[in-house]
Symmetry: C2
Subunit: 384 residues, 2 copies
């Protein structure tokens, strides 16, 4: 056989059970751990996240510019990884911090806590959030749970579970709110992906000819499934991209808003919305959608933040993040101009094979400023 040597597998730190309930398929914990958590057991991956200045600044400022939320309080860090958020919480004056981490990274977190003289305050607990028992309820839950396009990785399930079990009625969520955004974009990616796909098919035809001539087997019956496999890979799988603001050709549409204090797993199992965007550029090409998220640190109504902090992963000149944006390509691309309107329906569900990956259905209709309406189209995408 000779299969590829191991690549990095999608990974995060959350637990696998359903937390707030809802019809989530049962998950094989060992499988989930091997497929998902494993990445987070590597320091190079922690370093990548810790090197994301936008991410670091937002959490750092949210804590140190709102010390009143931490001073003398109890804090739970869900998926602490290297322990950075737990350490900041302690440095901001927390009385006690519980730092829960499912992977062996917990041992590094413990060492880091000790090296920074905070063992008296920060208690690192190795285990998945769903299984862990704390000696008390907490005033604050802090967590960096966001995946690509916010919900990939489904880690927020574990934060919800932690909140429902361990947050005091007066408790505060860090972050407190999250939003998903989408906007029409122009990108050369379409051409690249299409030519990659066409190249793969040319290759295939050469291959089937060879196999027939040299080895007496007619493979052409597999041409259709191969084409579908390649289409899915090149054209239907969203890709990570660090979009330049100039590539955004229309107004950003709010796809989903989450109040981290009240959201349930049911609220995020299916994300459905009908939204619209108006083109803001003259005579350009509509090549697809860019999807991103932002989160806010506002405290709670009765106990607001002194300084509200925002962490956005929107397209930016100089503040890119490791999350980038997810790009969903539209083929063929469509000529649009300022004043045209896109009305689209968005549906995102979890993949049956892996609850941490997503499937997206996009329906779209272009209503030109002339009043003319282009034929609507429907596309299916995969967030891998």
């Amino acid at each position: 056989m000779g299969s590829y040597q191991n690549g990095v597998v999608a990974g995060d730190r959350s637990g696998t059970s359903n937390g707030g309930g809802g019809p989530v398929p049962v998950v094989d914990k060992e499988l989930d751990f091997a497929q998902y958590f494993c990445t987070y057991a590597f320091l190079y991956h922690q370093k990548e996240m810790l090197s994301d200045r936008v991410r670091m600044d937002a959490y750092y400022n949210s804590v140190f510019q709102n010390k009143h939320h931490f001073k003398g309080k109890t804090v739970l860090d869900v998926g602490t990884g290297s322990g950075i958020l737990a350490i900041w919480s302690a440095q901001a004056g927390a009385r006690k911090v519980y730092a829960v981490e499912a992977t062996k990274m917990s041992e590094h977190a413990r060492a880091l806590v000790k090296a920074n003289n905070l063992e008296a305050v920060v208690e690192v607990i190795e285990g998945s959030m769903e299984d862990v028992t704390l000696p008390e309820k907490v005033d604050v839950i802090i967590s960096e749970w966001m995946g690509y396009f916010l919900l990939r990785e489904s880690m927020f399930d574990s934060v919800i579970c932690a909140r429902d079990r361990w947050l005091k009625p007066t408790g505060i969520m860090y972050p407190s709110h999250a939003r998903m955004w989408m906007a029409p974009i122009r990108t050369g990616l379409s051409e690249k992906k299409i030519s990659d796909y066409e190249g793969a098919m040319d290759d295939w035809h050469h291959f089937t000819n060879e196999t027939k001539t040299c080895y007496g087997v007619d493979m052409s019956v597999l041409t259709k499934p191969f084409s579908e496999e390649q289409k899915k890979y090149y054209l239907q799988t969203s890709s990570w991209n660090n979009l330049h603001p100039h590539q955004v050709i229309g107004t950003a549409a709010l796809v989903k808003e989450i109040d981290c204090l009240t959201a349930t797993v049911d609220d995020i199992l299916k994300v459905r919305s009908n939204i619209s965007s108006s083109i803001t550029l003259e005579n350009t090409r509509f090549c697809g959608f860019g999807g991103w998220f932002d989160v806010h640190f506002r405290g709670r109504r009765e106990d607001p933040a002194q300084k509200e902090i925002e962490l956005t992963t929107a397209p930016s000149f100089d503040n890119g993040t490791h999350w980038g944006q997810q790009v969903f390509l539209v083929n063929p691309t469509i000529r649009v101009t300022e004043g045209d309107n896109l009305n689209f329906s968005f549906l995102m569900i979890r993949s049956k094979e892996n609850h941490r990956l997503m499937e997206v259905e996009l329906g779209c209709e272009v209503r030109q400023c002339s009043g003319n309406v282009l034929p609507a189209f429907n596309k299916k995408y995969y967030i891998e």
Copy 2:
């Protein structure tokens, strides 16, 4: 969090249970399937294997130049994938061919069999070899089970299991024999990997300074574990390489020989041998070892092949394979010259975390032709 999008995971087609017995750790089947088999469910991966001319020619010739082994006989193809070996067996005159495949690739194999008008002869069975029940014993077991450096993927376990359960006492194995080889090499890879490692560490030091200055956390306690993680990744993990014969600087040593008709799982759980190689080049650099394998199609003593076929993955000018060779780097490199002798001890075991991956221990001593013996060294490697 924002973890990498899914990479390709190591995959093959074998079952997960122990087959011939022996102290193999119990394996989570669902986990093994997701981690390993999945790759083989993709046509692009099948195409890669089917495009390997050395591999294809060897199996094609072994079947069609030894039709007497197939004419009117019953055949079992272990891990049939696209079904190519089963189809050839039928085309060579087999009366009945059972083609067992664990992944959904079985559906494509069935379609391919039908398109080539062999449904009357070839029966595709979806299931793992260990679970499948056949209506009869077979005259021939054919399988392409070889992973990197022969045993990675541990798929031969399933072939052994199939043989012990379903091969007639007079039955024949295709291939009939397999060998592992190692030879000292020179390569620029050492410099590259060392500078990659050093670059990663420079990066890390910059990162820890930043984190201390900007975010008030001293990460230096993690420098040692990070360094070990990176050393393992860059310097202790064997890498795929398509070596040029000129890079081989000494005689190839036979590490292991397997008679596919009689080998047990116990025989391959641990591969241990003491071997030696003499340097054949004047004044060169010993940078590490290249590891590869060959297999032979000889039939069996009482019923030999009319034409013996060899499939080798040794370094070659123009007959490279998708298996390439595995390179185990030695640092620092050692000056050697014609007539010097390398005596080395080789031990390969399966990784505790994943029974389809391997761990290698290499002890080596350089005995110079002058009689002078350089200090011996011991190194641990990982075949991921």
